[in-house]
Amino acid sequence: MTGRAKTVGQGIAIAAVIGLLALLVWKLAFGDGQGAAGSLAKGENPVAPAFTLSRLDAADGKLSLSDLKGKAVVVNFWASWCIPCKDEAPALQKTYEQYGKQGLVVLGVDAQDFRQDAKRFVKRFGITYPVVYDGSGSTLGKWGVTGFPETFFVDRNGRLVGQRIQGGIDTERNRKAYDEGVRLALGEPT
């Protein structure tokens, strides 16, 4: 191998290493990390990540988060196989009925689940609020969802407020944060 070819080869190898390092640094500095939940945990109020998903109750119907612009939204990520999701379902339905007239919508996002199982779940718990289906879990990364159930609060301007609630909303640990999140989403003083 000539000296020139060797130098070129070394140059390419060094450039590749520098490129990979740059990618790593960029990912650490600007990557999604923990998604919107990460920003929320830092005390920021990021814009709620957008999504358009098929409605569970209508095979051809779609629902976008942007369709609910101007409303306070409680976004609840759940799955039919998740036990705490069953426990909290009545409380979510109650919230929807109690605050619906004030412009609050509970939006269920059924993820990583069988559509039929989710439909049975909705029927069993008498859920009347809108539920969208995300079988592949495509929304989870952007929102920073790490398990089920998780609940977020979106104010009328489309920004996340309050705390991300991990686990059932009806538990003693989460009840206070849930009530505060609902109030913040509605724009009421806490």
């Binding site: 191998m1 196989w81 990583q112 689940d113 559509r115 079988g135 592949s136 879990g137 495509s138």
Partner: protein, 148 residues
């Protein structure tokens, strides 16, 4: 011996596709489908959704669905990431071709390097080396003294 091998090859060639066309095996499908929450294949997971998916596969095998049909149904529900191996078509084909391409490039690079190095070594061996006359004289003196 050659006849035996040829017969075995023909038998395998005939029986292989016939076996593949038979009813799907639960364990095979569990090894080819990924649990969406834990990202391991179903046979290595006991999470609630993995258990549910195993039940789904069992029911659909009993119903007479083929492996391809069951996989297609699961992909429709959970997306293509549910397959442990990417499909061998479209954009996903790159996942199969790129490693082979990289391997081919690697083989070519190693071959070229080996050829280049062997040529250089040959060249080094045949080239006549010349020593500095003064140094050559000293070497001769040292060797002569060593012989004494």
């Amino acid at each position: 011996m050659i006849r035996f091998l040829a017969a075995a090859f023909v038998t395998l060639a005939l029986v292989g596709p016939a076996a593949a066309a038979g009813p799907p095996v639960q364990a095979d499908l569990e090894a080819e489908i990924v649990c969406p929450t834990c990202k391991t294949t179903l046979d290595q997971s006991s999470s609630p959704i993995a258990t549910r998916m195993k039940d789904y596969i069992r029911v659909h095998i009993a119903a007479g669905d083929s492996a391809a049909e069951i996989k297609a149904q699961l992909v429709e529900q959970f997306g293509p990431a549910v397959l442990a191996e990417p499909p061998k078509r479209g954009f996903d084909l790159l996942a199969w071709l790129l490693p082979l391409g990289a391997l081919a490039v690697g083989v070519v690079v190693v071959a070229v390097l080996a050829w280049t190095w062997s040529r250089r070594r040959d060249g080094d061996g045949t080239a006549e080396r010349t020593l500095d006359p003064d140094l050559e004289r000293r070497v001769d003196e040292e060797l002569a003294r060593f012989d004494d």
